[in-house]
C-alpha cells in the first residue's frame, strides 16, 4: 500500500506544479482586422510638391486649403475625429526671435509664457533637407479642442514656421506624420 501512497502523492504534486494556464507565449494568425492604422499607412504614401522654390513630400490625404496672404501654403490635415489646419510661413531673418514666437503660440491656447532657458526643455530637434528644426508641442489640458504643434526651421536668410492646429486627439495622431513632413522640407 505504501507504494501506492508514494505514487499518488507524486502524481498530485506533479499535477499541481505542471498545470499552468497562462505563462506561455502564443503565436497565431487571424483574418485581417482593421486596427485603425490604415490612415497613417496611407499617409506614408506621399507625393513631392514644390511651391516658391520650396519642396516637401505631401502626405496623402492632406488637402491644400485657402489661407491668408502671409501663408506660403496651407493644408487641411484629416485625423480620426476632425481636420487640423497646417500653415507654412516664411519670414526673413529670425523674425522677432524664437522665444517671442513660441510665447505668441502659447498665448493662443492660454498657456503662460516660458523663459529663454525653458525653450530647450519644451522642444525636440529634427533634421530636414535644409537643416535642423525645432518642434514645439503646446497643449492646454483645460482645452482639449485646441492644441498646437509647431516647427521652426531657420535657414539663415529666412526662417520657416510650420504650424499645425488641431484638437489634442488630433495632435497625438498627427505628430509622427508632422515630423516626417517637416523633415522632407527642402529647396
Amino acid at each position: 500500500m505504501i507504494i501506492f501512497q508514494k505514487v499518488s502523492l507524486l502524481f498530485i504534486i506533479v499535477f499541481y506544479l505542471g498545470c499552468d494556464n497562462g505563462r506561455h507565449i502564443q503565436n497565431y494568425r487571424t483574418p485581417k482586422k482593421d486596427f485603425g492604422v490604415e490612415k497613417s499607412l496611407i499617409n506614408e504614401d506621399s507625393r513631392s510638391e514644390a511651391i516658391n522654390n520650396l519642396s516637401w513630400d505631401l502626405p496623402k490625404g492632406w488637402v491644400p486649403s485657402k489661407g491668408h496672404s502671409m501663408r506660403l501654403a496651407s493644408f487641411d490635415v484629416p485625423f480620426s475625429s476632425g481636420v487640423g489646419d497646417l500653415s507654412i510661413i516664411s519670414l526673413s531673418g529670425i523674425s522677432g526671435g524664437l522665444l517671442a514666437n513660441v510665447n505668441r503660440w502659447r498665448a493662443q491656447i492660454n498657456l503662460d509664457p516660458i523663459s529663454e532657458n525653458e525653450i530647450l526643455d519644451v522642444s525636440e530637434v529634427g533634421e530636414s533637407k535644409m537643416g535642423a528644426f525645432r518642434i514645439f508641442r503646446m497643449v492646454n489640458n483645460s482645452n482639449n479642442e485646441k492644441a498646437i504643434l509647431a516647427a521652426v526651421l531657420p535657414t539663415g536668410e529666412k526662417t520657416f514656421f510650420i504650424k499645425l492646429t488641431a484638437s489634442q486627439q488630433g495632435l497625438i495622431e498627427l505628430e509622427s506624420i508632422f515630423e516626417k513632413f517637416c523633415s522632407s522640407i527642402g529647396t
Binding site: S8, L9, I12, C19, G22, Y28, T30, K33, Q169
Partner: protein, 369 residues
C-alpha cells in the same frame, strides 16, 4: 523520511486543521471583499498558494485544498480502511477526492469572459474579464494578421520577452493593474517613443470593481538596431493604436484582455429587451443568434435564464449596450468550466457512501440497543 512525510500527510488531524484554516480563509476573504473587491480578494486568499500579511507568509486556498486532496488520497491507501464494513467510508472519501479534483480543474483550466456582438455582426473571440496580455501584431501581410501574444504572468519587471519570429526583444519595465495618462509639461527624453513622448503612465489605486481598472504597461524595445528601439507605453482601451516599423514590417502593439478564439462564431441577428412598465429598468432581454459552425448557421435564442451550452462553453445573457443612435449590442458572459459536473457527481457519490455506511453500521446499532 518519505514514510514519515506520508504518515504526516495521511493524518486525519491534517484534514481537520486544513478545514479550520479554510473556514478562516472564507471569513477573511469575504470581509476583505468590501475593501479590495471581489476579484482581488479571490486572487489573494483563494487562488494563491501563499499570501503575506506583513512579512509573514500564510497558506492560500490552493495549497490548503491540495493538502486536503493529498490527505484524502493517502487515507484511501490505509489498509484498515479496505474492509467491507467500511465500504461507505471509502466511497465518501472517493467523493471527497472527486470534489477536490473538480475544484482543481476549475481553478486551473476554467475561464470566464465576455463577448460583445453588435446586431448584424459576428464574433468568435471571448475577452477574459481580468487577465491581460500584450499583443504584438504583424499587419504587413495582406491576407492575415500574425499575433505574438505574451500573457500577464510574464509581466514581471525586467522580464525579457522574445519570439524567434520577432525582429526585436521586449523588456518589461513596469506593469500597472490600474493606470492613467498624464500629459507631460515638457518633452520627455529621446529614449521615450510613441505615446510616452508626450504622456506619462501613472499608477493609480486599484478600483474595487475590477471592470473599472485600466491596466498599463511600460516596456523597452531593443534589438531592432533602428530608431524604433526605445521605451514604449500602452494602456488598456487606448483609442490610438501604437505602431512600429521594423525591417519593413508594420506592427501594432496592444494591451488587451486575454483573447480566446472559439472554433465557432456567434452572429447576433436581433437583440430584444423588455422594460418594466413606466421605468428604465430592464425586465428581461434576449439575443436571437446564429451559431455558425463549419459555415452552417443554426438559429438559437439566448435568454436570461436559458444559456447556450456548446463545445464546453456556456453563454449567458449578461448585459447589453445601446448607443445614442439606437444601435444595440448584446453582452454574453462566456464560461468554460471543465469541472462543472464534478460537484454534482461527487455529492451523489458522498451521499451514497454515507447511506451505505449507515446501512452497514445499522446492525451494530441494533445490537447495542
Amino acid at each position: 523520511m518519505l514514510n514519515k512525510i506520508i504518515k504526516l500527510f495521511s493524518s486525519p488531524k491534517l484534514f481537520v486543521y486544513s478545514l479550520v484554516w479554510l473556514m478562516i480563509l472564507v471569513v477573511v476573504g469575504t470581509v476583505s471583499q468590501r475593501d479590495i473587491g471581489l476579484y482581488a480578494s479571490q486572487q489573494i486568499y483563494f487562488s494563491s498558494y501563499f499570501f503575506f500579511i506583513g512579512p509573514i507568509p500564510f497558506p492560500g486556498g490552493r495549497i490548503v485544498l491540495a493538502l486536503m486532496l493529498v490527505n484524502l488520497v493517502s487515507m484511501m491507501f490505509k489498509q484498515n480502511l479496505w474492509k467491507m464494513k467500511k465500504i461507505g467510508v471509502v466511497i465518501v472519501h472517493l467523493g471527497g477526492v472527486m470534489l477536490l479534483v473538480g475544484a482543481g480543474m476549475t481553478a486551473i483550466f476554467s475561464s470566464e469572459g465576455s463577448m460583445v456582438i453588435e446586431e448584424g455582426s459576428k464574433s468568435n473571440t471571448v475577452d477574459d474579464y481580468n487577465i491581460t496580455e500584450l499583443a504584438i501584431i504583424d499587419i504587413s501581410d495582406v491576407n492575415y494578421d500574425q499575433y505574438f501574444v505574451f500573457g500577464q504572468p510574464l509581466f514581471k519587471n525586467g522580464n525579457n520577452l522574445m519570439h524567434e519570429n520577432l525582429d526585436f526583444d521586449i523588456t518589461i519595465l513596469d506593469y500597472m493593474d490600474n493606470a492613467t495618462l498624464e500629459q507631460l509639461k515638457g518633452s520627455s527624453g529621446i529614449q521615450f517613443k510613441g505615446m510616452l513622448k508626450n504622456f506619462m503612465l501613472k499608477r493609480i489605486k486599484r478600483d474595487k470593481d475590477d471592470m473599472k481598472n485600466r491596466p498599463g504597461i511600460i516596456y523597452q524595445i531593443s534589438g531592432s538596431f533602428s530608431n524604433t528601439d526605445g521605451i514604449y507605453g500602452l494602456i488598456f482601451g487606448q483609442s490610438v493604436p501604437a505602431t512600429i516599423k521594423v525591417e519593413g514590417r508594420q506592427y501594432v502593439m496592444s494591451l488587451q484582455k486575454k483573447k480566446t478564439y472559439l472554433p465557432f462564431a456567434i452572429e447576433l441577428e436581433d437583440f430584444k429587451k423588455v422594460m418594466h412598465p413606466g421605468t428604465d429598468v430592464a425586465k428581461s432581454y434576449s439575443s436571437k443568434i446564429n451559431l455558425i459552425e463549419n459555415n452552417v448557421p443554426r438559429p438559437i435564442l439566448i435568454e436570461m435564464n436559458k444559456p447556450l451550452r456548446h463545445e464546453g462553453y456556456t453563454f449567458y445573457q449578461a448585459s447589453f449596450i445601446e448607443n445614442p443612435s439606437g444601435e444595440e449590442a448584446t453582452v454574453l458572459a462566456a464560461v468554460k468550466n471543465y469541472g462543472r459536473l464534478f460537484p454534482y457527481v461527487s455529492s451523489i457519490i458522498m451521499s451514497i457512501g454515507l447511506l451505505l455506511h449507515m446501512l452497514v453500521s445499522m446492525p451494530n446499532l441494533f445490537k447495542k440497543n
